[in-house]
Symmetry: C2
Subunit: 282 residues, 2 copies
């Protein structure tokens, strides 16, 4: 039947996301564990992914770029707006490959608690950019109590400092000033370069340091933010809704708007961006 065919494609899309087929074993283990943890913990809140199959998995005409995208919206009655998992693999003219994997989780305006964001950008076996944060949903300068609750009391800074101690780790500055503004003061924004130790050393760093730290930060988000305890009144809700929408639009524009057309051409870009915007605005 059409319904069971649709379900097969959904399962297929999900399997494809969780395959993370082009990255190292420790990188894949990290992504699979985090995606599984989020889906298990938030399962009662989540609707199935409704993206068309050719958005859940897509590739460019020359077959040098492949990507998978998975978005599950939250039930109207839940504090979850959506969770988004993705991977992208792209052969580079230099002979190497670019691999990006991401997991993000956004809450809806019934709560003002921070979102969750993880992104790993690997441009070679010995070079990795890691973005790991609970991006705030209010101006922290105006709301020191919010800063205390979600960033000081949760001791997120300890996780950032743990990673900072690894000799291969350097701070990373996004070329987008807007992205720098969107993250929290405890954001982990680092570039890891393991040239001396090679790809093996990078896998070790991901397994022994990045993985436990990402797991801990996700745990803090699930326990303190995703519960939806921090509820908001009607007037604040409107401001929150406006800010959330602005951040979503600007982030898509910056993240995908520039690189997607270059990697996948205009047709696929329009299809994928259109499908994302449909979910975000529904």
């Amino acid at each position: 039947s059409s319904a069971s065919h649709h379900m097969d494609l959904q399962v297929q899309g999900r399997r494809r996301l969780k395959d993370f087929p082009y990255v190292s074993a420790p990188h894949r283990d990290l992504m699979v564990e985090l995606v599984s943890t989020v889906e298990t913990r938030l399962d009662p809140h989540l609707l199935p992914c409704t993206l068309p199959p050719d958005v859940q998995y897509y590739q460019n005409p020359t077959n040098t770029a492949h990507a998978s995208l998975h978005i599950r919206s939250g039930h109207k009655s839940s504090p979850i707006d959506f969770i988004l998992g993705s991977w992208l693999h792209c052969e580079l003219p230099s002979g190497g490959a670019l691999n990006i994997t991401s997991l993000s989780a956004n809450l809806n305006p019934s709560t003002d608690a921070p979102n969750f964001l993880l992104e790993l950008i690997q441009s070679s076996p010995t070079s990795l950019i890691l973005i790991l944060d609970l991006p705030p949903r209010k101006d922290l300068v105006l709301h020191p109590d919010y800063l205390r609750t979600f960033y000081e009391d949760t001791q997120l800074e300890r996780q950032r400092q743990l990673l900072e101690k690894i000799p291969e780790v350097r701070p990373y500055f996004s070329s987008s000033l807007y992205i720098r503004c969107v993250v929290s003061p405890t954001a982990i924004l680092v570039r890891i370069e393991s040239e001396a130790g090679g790809g093996r050393r990078m896998e070790e760093i991901v397994q022994d340091h990045v993985h436990p730290i990402a797991k801990e930060v996700l745990g803090i988000w699930l326990d303190r933010c995703a519960s939806g305890e921090s509820s908001v009144g009607e007037t604040e809700r409107a401001a929150l809704e406006k800010r959330d929408q602005l951040v979503k639009n600007k982030t898509i524009e910056i993240d995908l708007g520039s690189s997607m057309p270059r990697l996948f051409g205009p047709e696929i870009t329009d299809r994928v961006l259109g499908a994302i915007q449909e979910v975000f605005n529904s």
Copy 2:
């Protein structure tokens, strides 16, 4: 007369500030040039410093800590709230000394343009923390146009990158998460360590790199922000006023609240903080 006595003390206080007596020649040259530039450019807008003489210069009972503070408020009709210059010298139990010099300039709510902030914290001849920024006065996440006008179009990021290239320069993370929130995405927050090259190398870095960059950033602030061109309406003005006040109070609390009593004892601390608060709330 009492008036001329008062004037003598003012001149004396001003000379004391501009003496910057405990720091290296390049460090002093930098501070003197910046303070002079601000006072010359903004002179028509500025009232004389009205701080009591024992706040313009003070020391602790054991004579191991000395400090100078100079605040000039802006005319009611000007866009200037105040400019603040200071230095602090404190002998350390280890035998060395801590020297902090600062220059900040805050605008009033007739304009929403960014403020100016410069702080040099030298804990040894070979170790310097530099904070140089135009702290924004609005939530940059909610106001991408403001980000574009004052941070992208002014190319402040180029100044940050110039300094980042010096091998002795490392990013600096303030232990206060609130301070991390208050600064802009192009803030220069660095720790300079010149152990290998000694104090001479540090003086060279301050003269050849920190000085021209600080001068350039101050120039951008004077040309693009201090003119007061970016005027605001009545409703926005109230929000701006609230935010400015909050930042001023939190910054004093963090900057001075903890270290002042330790260095100067409770009596001097109360006197100095009281005098600062009187200027800030007038």
